[in-house]
Amino acid sequence: MNDVSRAAETAVRDSYGKLLAYLSCRTHDIALAEDALSDAFAKALSKWTEDGVPKNPDAWLLTVARNRLTDRQRHLTKFPTESEVPDIEAPDTSRDPFKDKRLALLMVCAHPAIAPDLHTPLMLQTVLGIEAKTIAQLFLMSPAALSKRLVRAKAKIRDAGIPFQIPDKEQLPERSTAILEAIYALHAHDWLDPTDGMGEEALYLANLLTQLLPENAEVFGLCALIAFSHARRKARIIDGALVPIEQQDMSLWDDQLIAYGNRQLHHAYEMKSIGRFQVEASIETVHLSRKKTGNIDWQALNQLYHAYLKQAPSAGAKVSQAVVTAHLHGNKAGLQALINLENQIGSAFQPLWAARAELHSRIGDRQEARLCYDKAISLTTDIPVLKFLRQKSSLLGQ
């Protein structure tokens, strides 16, 4: 995609999310707002091709959608009279763009009363206008089942009276975290399939959130993290196989995006409120600085993983820390850390076996390494990881 068409796409997307947020905040009925907006877009398509694009396309679309909504609401009211149906207030779009209500919409999408696995799909559908079918394919879910769940969620939002509001100061941190988690989920999903465009969407949402929640340091941390990860999209998978960050071809990294991420992370640091996303982004910067220094600062990584595990203990981070331990204190120490970890979490965690295989192969125990690779491969359902592990295993030789 070139810059012009990207700019055009971003503009359309911006106005879709803004318009939908505006309309849903007024009616509390997302589905109704979606219908009205899609009618308005359809009308625009025919009208604008004939008459040209109006001076203020958003205002045009909003007026058409609002009229549709008002008609529809009158129709839904049993005894329709003018007075019973409050008109949606016409915003003054001529001077200032109408008020951005996307944060309120995001708060609704990630509301605690909505099932957590629907938070991300709801955001993708409402703020970015992505179809349910596309979202379902992305997450390998039944499209019909997902559509149905989304319809039900929107009905619940309307009928249960989930407020389209920015929560008060007390609740804001927790509610904001739910939004961050949902964007992080999208980023994590993109990790193994950088071609599906979801890295771009995650970055868009994170960047949007920095504008909507400018006082939350973690928002900037997440934005930096996603930018760093997205900057390495072309280097992460080669010939269908995963390439670990230490071995990636650095010439494929997107320097512009890395610079953007650094700015966001720097901004986050300045707020002096550390959190897991900032730490995870900092871990990335240690790897990214290999491009300048030519090596990896394992000591720094060790400290960062310690900090990360305090913020967000996870099996994956513990495996990574064991690998760091191996670099600093020798492979045997790393293996011991992995054995301790297996005692805690059991034997069904693929990264544990991949790391163990790697450390065994480094100390020259090829037989043990092969067994560990076999176990790791048996637990792998992601094809790029599978291909990577097969390559590593075959490199052990006979």
Partner: protein, 116 residues
């Protein structure tokens, strides 16, 4: 070791699917089958007609009896199966978790009883 996944769903949950829904559904399963094949663990699969088309036959007690319908009425019914060949139950569970059916119904995992 061979494992069979039995895919159960509540027919009410899928009653109103359109042909387009089914086409999309097939794509999702196609991707799953593709991954199983790529990993070299795929053995067999089938997708079954709805349970109301079942015929149940028994000759227990000497005489043949044919019943129009499933042997037992349950809320969730068998809609299909996968047979895969993987190292152990850990691996079988990893693949079952990725099966699209887990998100709308249940997947029962059973190991083969044939000796290796």
């Amino acid at each position: 070791m061979r494992y069979t996944f039995f895919l159960y769903t509540d027919p009410a949950d899928i009653a109103d699917r359109t042909p387009e829904d089914w086409a999309a559904e097939k794509q999702i399963y196609g991707a799953y089958i593709g991954a199983l094949k790529e990993a070299g663990v795929f053995v067999d699969t089938d997708w079954l007609q709805p349970v109301h088309t079942a015929t149940t036959i028994t000759a227990k007690g000497g005489s043949k009896q044919v019943q129009d319908g499933p042997f037992a009425d349950t809320k969730e019914t068998l809609g299909g199966y996968f047979v895969i060949d993987v190292a152990d139950l850990d691996a079988a569970m990893a693949w079952a978790e990725k099966c699209p059916a887990v998100k709308i119904g249940k997947v029962e995992i059973r190991a083969t009883a044939f000796p290796a």
